[in-house]
């Protein structure tokens, strides 16, 4: 198949399927359409990868008429945002849309002079392929999961008229738009796709149409519009200062004049990646049905933000901007990890963990060495797989148990063994070596440590944040594993469980085979961006000039250390003894003991959240103000130099 066809397929197939979804009202029909379509999307992504990886970047410029279509659509979307601002009486949305409505024509017709031909419009290199695979594979699996989730979701809400057609329209459209976004080389096209992701995201968050959903959707909208304004300003400045709006030319041009537009683009990326002080839109997004969270957090939306920051990294290498990006990212990683300790809502913990990991990716872009960029790309992949899966698991648990509170997930293993095992492996894969996310953390800390000077601050934030992740994952993970024996049958919807289990095996498999993953995908992406190879991969170990990581050897040891005891414990058949309660246990019910007056007393246990230290009331203002100061410093540093 030709490259043009594959690219068109990856962008337009989801769009076409999305439109078809508008006509489908029942679950079976949706599955019949979506299952083959999503498989086709995955195959197309793989086929494009097989073409680009051996042959090098693939360039594509659609006919000039498409430039005009995109320009018109830009204004259509903008008009829609204005409409939302007016009808919802939201001053922020309206104000920002008005600013954008003024700024966009000024840039487009004043600065750019109407029409600027960018060649090529699409530049598909190995980094774009990595993103495309993440979007098309993880994203598609989430779509399939959603076909099982949404009917149950609507049954629970007792809707009179199904809203699934709209849901799947925005949901599937998202995948095509994301593919377009990562392929785009022309900043105007990038901006177009960027706006459509904002639009999709707005409608998906709003889906349940409750007051909270509407409000949170509007917040997501205005925060993302801040990024859009920065992006349009950046496009104007880029053309004004460097005479180009091609990302490749901006990044490789090496001119100091492009630093301000690059800083503005980074700011745009931070808003989309929900970095502090913009984290509240992503936290609010959890009012949407869980597949939306899974999609936003793993393969789309927020990943677009970090993709942009990472994509531009060669353009600001060895500048103070790079250092400030690193400090900012590491700071966000630290504070959001600490904030996660104080949360008892499972989805909120996952959301904070997402923001933290995105902060770590931003930090990697800022450290800006071969090793750090490799770590950032690896983290995009591993985080997408593990976090998508964790949201999906939590979503199933919420539907089956009726709660998203971590306190209610206590002892889940007794009620939902398969789901619990999957979730526990997912959490371990987010947390510990030798799994991929921790590997990326290892690489990031070593890369930051290997830089001198102000990077001491970066590495300190990373060390504290790393310890904090240990706490919030562990205290959740540990409590799920044993509970009072309950005779229940675990319902296992095929596509929901199938996709979860596929992603779990993906998280483990990719971690074991991280060395080939690096050779096949990440090192080509590094070379495509102009970086050198980060690892010596002899013997399938990963050796840097100063560190050493042996993935498969560690996996052998850790698998033996975790799996053998687990298997042995399963075989333990003797009666279990009651726990110690500092008093004589009452026969029969769990956790009852004989109190001082000879009366039965029930002991209770609960989670620890230490909100006096890690609660939002205490930490959020602090982190928002600090992040704001860092952002101001980041922009001021570039302007004043």
């Amino acid at each position: 198949m030709s490259g043009e066809l594959l690219v068109s397929l990856l962008v337009l197939l989801p769009v076409a399927v999305a439109v078809c979804c508008l006509a489908l009202r029942n679950a079976a029909a949706q599955k019949v359409l979506l299952l083959p379509a999503m498989v086709l999307l995955m195959v197309a992504a793989a086929a494009l990868a097989l073409r680009v990886l051996p042959e090098g970047p693939f360039a594509l410029t659609p006919a000039a008429v498409w430039d005009n279509i995109v320009a018109v659509l830009d204004y259509v979307i903008l008009a829609y945002f204005l409409y939302i601002g007016v009808t919802s009486r939201n001053g922020l949305v309206l104000g920002l849309a008005v600013v954008l409505a003024v700024l966009l024509p000024v840039v487009q017709f004043g600065v750019l002079g109407g029409h600027v031909a960018v060649s090529p419009v699409f530049h598909i290199d190995a980094l774009a392929i990595v993103m495309c695979l993440v979007i098309s594979v993880v994203g598609s699996l989430i779509v399939l999961y959603a076909t099982d989730y949404m009917p149950a979701h609507e049954a629970h809400l007792k809707l009179e008229r199904t809203r699934q057609p709209q849901f799947f329209f925005w949901f599937v459209l998202f995948l095509g738009v994301m593919n377009g976004l990562v392929f785009a080389n022309s900043l105007l096209w990038l901006f177009f796709f960027w706006e459509v992701t904002t639009l999709c995201c707005y409608h998906l968050i709003r889906h349940n149409l409750t007051d909270e959903a509407r409000e949170n959707a509007l917040r997501a909208l205005w925060m993302n519009l801040v990024g859009s304004v920065a992006m349009v300003a950046g496009i104007g400045l880029a053309y004004n200062n460097a005479g180009t709006i091609s990302i490749q030319e901006l990044v490789t041009g090496g001119s100091a004049l492009v630093l301000l537009p690059l800083a503005l683009f980074c700011l745009t990326g931070f808003t989309k990646a929900a970095q502090a002080p913009f984290q509240s839109w992503l936290l609010g997004a959890m009012v949407a049905p869980t597949p939306v969270s899974a999609l936003l957090h793993s393969s789309t939306m927020v990943k677009a933000g970090v993709y942009l920051v990472l994509r531009l990294a060669p353009g600001y290498a060895d500048t103070s901007l790079s250092l400030l990006v690193a400090i900012f990212g590491a700071f966000v990683f630290m504070v959001t990890s600490l904030l996660a300790i104080g949360q008892n809502i499972s989805k909120r913990v996952l959301a904070y963990s997402t923001i933290a990991n995105l902060g770590l990716i931003v930090c990697c872009a800022g450290i800006n060495t071969d090793l750090a960029i490799a770590a950032g790309i690896a983290l995009i992949i591993f985080h997408a797989v593990s976090k998508g899966m964790l949201f999906m698991a939590v979503g199933v648990a919420e539907q089956q148990i009726g709660s998203r509170d971590i306190e209610d997930l206590d002892g889940l293993a007794a009620r939902r063994p398969v789901l619990t095992i999957a979730a526990v492996i997912g959490m371990l894969s987010m947390l510990f070596l030798p799994f991929g996310v921790a590997f990326a953390k290892w690489a990031a800390i070593e890369a930051a440590g290997a830089q001198a000077g102000w990077f001491i601050a970066v590495v300190t934030f990373l060390a504290v944040g790393s310890a904090a992740t240990l706490v919030f994952w562990s205290k959740w993970l540990g409590r799920m594993l044993s509970g009072p024996v309950v005779e229940t049958k675990e319902p296992k919807p095929f596509l929901a469980y199938g996709t979860i289990l596929l992603l779990v095996s993906g998280a483990v498999g990719l971690s074991i085979f991280v060395t080939p993953l690096i050779t096949v995908l990440i090192q080509p992406a590094l070379s495509g961006m102009g970086y050198d190879q980060a690892f010596d991969v002899a013997g399938w170990h990963l050796r840097t000039t100063f560190g050493f990581f042996p993935p498969w050897a560690l996996f052998l040891a850790v698998a033996a250390a975790v799996l053998l005891p687990a298997l042995a414990a399963r075989g333990y058949r003797k009666e279990l003894d009651p726990v110690y309660l500092c008093g004589v246990n009452v026969d029969g019910p769990e956790l009852w003991f004989t109190g001082i007056a000879g009366e039965p007393v029930q002991a209770t246990t609960g989670g620890a959240y230490w909100t006096q230290l890690f609660g939002e009331a205490r930490l959020t203002p602090l982190s928002n103000w600090s992040a704001l100061v860092l952002l101001v410093a980041l922009l001021a540093g570039v302007i004043l130099r």
Binding site: I456, S482, G483, A561
Partner: protein
Amino acid sequence: MTLTWPIIIAVAAVLLAPLVGGLLRGLDRKLTARMQGRLGPPLTQPFYDFGKLVGKSRSVSSRASIAWVWSYFLLTLTAFALFFLGQDLLVVFFILAFAGGALAFGALSARSPYARFGANRELLQMLSYEPILLLAAVAIYFQTGGFTVYSVFEANQPLLPFLPLVFVAVLVALGIKMRKSPFDIAASEHAHQELVRGVYTEYSGPHLALIELTHWYELVLLMAFLALFWVQPLWVGVLIAFAAYFLELWIDNIAARLRWSWMLGASWGVGIGFIVANLVLLSVLL
């Protein structure tokens, strides 16, 4: 480097560590007794205790607990072996964190208020010392140009004269990791306090023996890490590690258990603060 010697050293270390660790614990009990005006048990008492625990019948309140306690042991052993193979220090500490996590998971799995209380505090202890260990590895990189144990031996100067404040920070981490006062907050040393035995409450007999054995490995690993601060020649480092051990015992005997928030403040303030100060000074002066 060829792997023959490191493997011989690592195997020897794995075999000898229980002996050394047990004797160190015996020394601890003897010295502590003397400081308190008691005679104390014989030096080999920990081995008798170990043998007695192994011989007791098993009492299990949760299957997951016994699985995780074995993971705790095996993961600690993995980290221990990696260290003596001369591997990457950050990898060693990350695996050690996995081991610490396994101990907490075991206690959390038990559904006992005391065990869970202890487990949460164990996690707070990790929150306190984990950044110190990670930053200490970075500090060692600053001085040697490598993150591996091997690179410390390659360097031609001892670390301590250049990293004195880092060493002090590691002593704080050591105090927490050894579960000594004022940091014995996850499991009080004496079982008749409000914590009972915290994170160990639900373990008895052979499983408690396994935990004790793991502690011996941990102790030797931490002592070996302290010795890294002076490996030209190695015996100076070993002496320094012993001196640090006695210092910890002394502090244990004069201090009372403190609140976890105090521990967090102390370890982050003193520990992280000292390491950062040390690195800044190094960058400025050299």
